[in-house]
Amino acid sequence: MPYISNTDRDRREMFAKIGVQNFDELIQAIPENFRLKDGLNMDPALSELEITEKIKAQTCQNLCAQNANSFLGAGVYDHFIPAAVDFIVSRPEFFTAYTPYQAEVSQGTLQFIYEYQTMICELTGMQIANASMYDGASAVAEAILMAVRKNKLNKALLPASLHPEYLKVIKAYTEGVGVELVLVPVKDGVMDLDELARMLDESVGSVIVQSPNYFGNIEDAQAISNLVHAQAKCLLIACVDPISLAILQAPADYQADIVVGEGQALGNSMYMGGPLFGFFATKLDMSRQMPGRIVGGTLDKDGNRAYALTLQAREQHIRRAKATSNICSNQSLCTLAATVYMSLMGREGLREAALQSAQKAHYLADELCKIDGFKLEYPQAAFFKEFVVHTPIPARQIIDKLLPRGIYAGVELAENSLMIAVTEKKGKAAIDEYVKAMQEVIHA
């Protein structure tokens, strides 16, 4: 066996020490009739060479975004990742380590999480961040649950422009504890503020704003915040794109109370949508209601700087049924990738990535709208790196017709509605190729 050192001779020596003759004596506690008689029914074991062949065959059945010209987004984005990121993430010192409960032999993990928390707070303007949630969707769900703990108001308003898969996850997470979810309608691609004003009253515990929203549009978060905070107890939960924060308003600037979002774009490959990671930040006065792990700075016995998990009394391994969340494992290694990514990109690099993504998306939108029958679905709304176009032929047909040309045209939102994402990775030639292909299939 490749990963088991002990030979039959070792086993015999161990049996002697234990005081048994054979393995079966060790499992006498398992009733005879429970034990599997004929072994598992599985394919024959493969060697390293054979599994490599098998995986190679499987990868050949896939057409990855690297080999295509992809304009897919909707929650997962193909941003540039510097090569050095994977070198750090691949260090066994990080990737085979356990959760840093034994602080004295986990300072490497603890310090990078502290740095990660700092970077998330710098992007969002908040005061404290946790070590991560599973994904953007569960981060929003946990934010809603935290708001309920804080103000005991179990009604949450969500925009109809929220990511639809997030909505499903939020529903699963919040229905058990009796949270009432109410959708705020969308007008011109953003939250309808008149409707929001009408729906807000003292029974509402939290309002979620996603900006850029599912359609890529930037919400008027300050106006939303003003309405929300006119209610004494209501909390504003902002769900944001971390790359966008290099150029767009920090949520703290519009007085968000809890800030969450999907972090994959920060240095993590897409991997068909997993692993992702959710970031979660808030104000200091809500720290004891937060879900998940938090690292804090402290001192060791000799008075030297050190780091440790902190506020653990919130967590399931201490508080059990009364914990703020059931989360244990999070997405630690993904946050390491994010931390190294942000360190390498630096202040200017992240801004450049954000700016170029926006520029290229706007260029593509302009070019597409020059084709007969194409127009922006939400011309009044400002967008960041993703936008929705109205298409002259069904979006499904466009997707199917561009696929043989190696182009992923976008995500179909409605029969004649196509959502298109662009990142800084796209060169002008790739965008022009897309526009040209679009012209051809429309006129074919």
């Binding site: 066996m1 990963y3 020490k17 393995f23 060790l26 499992i27 009733p31 429970f34 072994g39 598992l40 029914n41 599985m42 074991a45 493969l46 599994i51 990868t59 990855c64 540039f80 510097p82 050095a84 066994p92 085979t96 380590a97 356990y98 840093p100 034994q102 004295e104 986990s106 310090q111 700092t118 707070c121 404290i128 599973y134 953007g136 499903k168 996850v169 058990g176 308003q249 991997y271 068909m272 949508g273 997993g274 804090g296 700075g297 060791d300 000799d302 440790a308 506020l311 653990q312 049924a321 914990a323 969340s325 494992s329 202040r347 200017e348 992240l350 260029y363 997707i399 992923y408 002008k428």
Partner: protein, 484 residues
């Protein structure tokens, strides 16, 4: 401690350079001024080598599997094969987008489909969802399924779930999240479920029972048949917490002995790296009558190929993840299972059990071990002798182990054993490595007698000395104060 990355920063240094954009549009022309940010986030500014040095320096302060034994009970810190890492990074896995058309994902879907099948066979369940991304999320999915089952049957009176007092904290926390009251079941003197007591607390309001098997004392719950009969008699369901599945591969199929639902921790049993706290994966298997409630989509296969299958959308609990779970983790577990096969998997569990029993036999003379019978893949020793004789706590013993190059066991858990040390060596440790650990533990027992202060002072050779976690709470310092 090393400086933080922010303290290494110097203005205008770059770790990367993007190509100059051929498209220049001023920000104002794209996005109204009122949405702009006043100050660019103060991320650190360093060269690539500066960044590498910093994080490599941090990495040197960690314990990790390749460095030494990691005997954390119920955490299954086995060796993570490197071929997984090489293969998973293939561009046609790493660069797949979840919204790609099915026809361009056939290889990935085949892999997921086969993993569903393999996990179903290993657990003896009818069907498996790969969507949950962690053990606790698997538990959440499982309890939601219990909830959906009762709602579909009109069992509106079901309000409580029973959990043994030896359970992991995620069990009660999860039940609370789904909206159930938790009723704790005391363990009997053997360390197993107290059946008489279980009979007393089970009633018509019982929705389910969560059981870790083998339990956190490393003991197989022998009375499953009786437990199943009691639980099923009130139309409740039995959930198996699969944290300790590493003891049962090819030996017992939980779905065939009375369990209705199980979650797997792929980062434990199936050797995907723990990553310093994730990402893991927590697939969930169920018996036939619960298949309609599994999250959507499942991966199905027909004559045209593999598909994302939403067929049971109406009865499903919905979704627990934005997309299809932690695909990159699933790929690693798939490779592991395919390389071991049926015989290899059984060999894993056999050796995990032999290694644990060997350690227990070697340590029994030096540390109090409450239970006299053979254990499964882990066992609980405790520091009560040392506490009584030398006023040395289990925490001191654990910290001294760090000095000797080993990670500590899981300490003060399960809660029902005072001064507990839960020890799980896993199958990948060799006899020599186990002997070295035993030697260290014997030395520490000796030191406790002769020089208890040495243990109170421990650790002394780690990158930092004992860390003040009370101060970390009292003087909360969660972020670095960036000055420039």
């Amino acid at each position: 401690m090393p400086k933080t990355i922010f303290e290494h920063s110097s203005p205008e240094r770059h770790g990367v350079r993007l190509p100059a954009s051929e498209i220049q549009i001023p920000l104002d022309k794209m996005i109204p001024q009122k949405f702009h940010r006043a100050q660019t986030p103060r991320l650190p500014e360093l060269s690539e080598m500066d960044v590498m040095r910093h994080y490599i320096k941090l990495s040197h302060m960690n314990h990790f599997i390749e460095k030494g034994l990691y005997p954390l009970g119920s955490c299954t810190m086995k060796y993570n094969p490197k071929i997984h890492e090489l293969l998973v990074r293939h561009s046609c896995f790493a660069n797949l987008h979840p919204h790609q058309p099915e026809s361009t994902l056939q290889g990935a879907l085949e892999l997921l489909y086969e993993l569903q099948q393999d996990l179903a066979e290993i657990s003896g369940m009818k069907q498996v969802t790969l969507q949950p991304v962690a053990g606790a999320q698997g538990e959440f999915t499982g309890i939601k399924i219990i909830d959906a089952y009762h709602k579909a049957k009109g069992n509106t009176h079901k309000t409580k779930i029973i959990i043994p007092d030896s359970a992991h904290g995620t069990n009660p926390a999860t039940c609370n999240l789904v909206g159930y009251d938790v009723v704790e079941l005391k363990s009997n003197s053997e360390g197993r479920c107290d059946i008489a007591r279980l009979r007393e607390i089970v009633d018509e309001n019982t929705a389910g029972f969560m059981l870790t098997n083998p339990n956190t004392l490393g003991l197989f719950e022998t009375q499953i048949e009786e437990i199943a009969e009691i639980i099923h008699s009130v139309d409740a369901l039995i959930y198996m917490d699969g944290a300790n599945l590493n003891a049962l591969l090819g030996i017992v199929q939980p779905g065939k002995i009375g369990f209705d639902i199980i979650h797997f921790n792929l980062h434990k049993t199936f050797s995907t790296p723990h990553g310093g706290g994730g990402p893991g994966a927590g697939p969930v298997g169920v018996v036939e009558k619960l298949v309609p409630y599994l999250p959507v989509p499942m991966i199905s296969k027909d004559e045209t190929g593999y598909h994302f299958d939403y067929a049971h959308q109406k009865t499903s609990i919905g979704k627990v993840h934005t997309f299809y779970g932690n695909f990159a983790v699933l790929v690693r577990a798939y490779i592991y299972i395919k390389m071991l096969g049926a015989e290899g998997l059984r060999r894993v569990s056999e050796n995990a059990i032999i290694n644990a029993n060997y350690l227990m036999a070697c340590l029994r003379e030096y540390y109090h071990i409450q239970h006299q019978e053979h254990c499964m893949h882990e066992f609980v020793a405790d520091g009560t002798w040392q506490k009584k004789e030398s006023k040395v706590s289990t925490l001191d013993l654990a910290k001294r182990l760090l000095d000797k190059g080993f990670h500590a066991p899981t300490v003060y858990f399960p809660l029902i054993i005072p001064e507990a040390m839960m020890i799980e060596p896993t199958e990948t440790e060799s006899l020599e490595s186990l002997d070295a650990f035993v030697q260290a533990m014997i030395e520490i027992a000796q030191e406790a007698k002769e020089n208890p202060d040495l243990l109170h002072e421990a650790p002394i050779s780690t990158p930092v000395r004992r860390v003040d976690d009370v101060r970390a709470v009292k003087e909360l310092d969660p972020i670095f104060k960036i000055e420039k």
